[in-house]
């Protein structure tokens, strides 16, 4: 079963490729989605939907997620809605 990190990596690289940006082998926990990765509103929409589809988890249910680390934490220990 793929780990959350693999899913996140796959989705983010898919988005980066669409934007014509270089793919990454690794996404460090401290990277910010908007600032460091340059994701705009449409990219965040895609990330939201694809993560929901793959994990069934609303990673944003406990508030704003700004970094890769926060995203992985939300996927690894989702709270009950």
């Amino acid at each position: 079963m793929p780990k959350p990190h693999d899913d996140v990596k796959k989705i983010l690289n898919f988005i980066l490729e669409k934007k014509g940006l270089p793919l990454r082998n690794q996404f460090e926990a401290s990277l910010t989605l908007s600032g460091d990765l340059g994701l705009d509103s449409l990219d965040l929409a895609e990330l939201t939907v694809r993560l929901e589809d793959r994990s069934g988890i609303d990673v944003f249910q406990n508030g704003i997620v700004k970094t890769i680390g926060e995203l992985l934490a939300a996927l690894e220990s989702p709270s009950t809605p």
Binding site: L42, L44, A45, V49
Partner: protein
Amino acid sequence: MVLFDTPWNLETLGTSVELRFDGSEKLPEINPEIWSRHRYVAASLPMGNLELIHSLEDQGFRFVETKFSLDLDLIASPEIPEEVKLLARRSRLERINSINAFELLLQQIQAGIFQTDRIALDPKFGIQTSAARYINWLRNSYGLESSPIDSILYREKSVGFIFTEAENNHLQIKLGGIFTSYDGRGYGALLIYHPIQMAKIKGLNRVKTEISSNNVGIWRLYQAFGFKIVEARYLLRRTNNA
């Protein structure tokens, strides 16, 4: 120059008026009576006329924003971005037609959705005055069949709202926002997607709106849907507030 009274500002900005210039005026002398009668005077002028803007600055006006009028031609069948289609499958509109739902919306606006609004950014006013102004506007419009207020539901949770009006052959997006607790998820696209669908259902040809230079992020989003800028105007204000 044309002068418009703006009575909807009365409870928040005080008596107010808007002066609208067509650009042919060079150095207008504003009638001093305006200052004694109005606490907030806005001046709207076509972009690029620096002589006029400097003349207004000399008379105590301060720049607050450039306002862009946007237009989308639906007959040209613009493509909805793929990411938005995915998001939209989980979303729908629900008409706000109960006092309870309406008051919940006003609470969200009170919490400060419109942080880039010119009144919110103005050091003489701030976010609370800005929110009160929007709340007044919506209270005056609530229940009007011609300008509905709809809740945006995502997975059946209310995440924002749109306030629209059908005018002649187009739909005007008058106001819309995603609640602050749903920031950072890309839901902003739904503020544009749903009015486009609404206009198509009503058989309208165009969707129009106005955005501010203080909110560049939303322009990129409108651009992705195919909107074009059809007019740009500077907005300045002079206020008697201490």
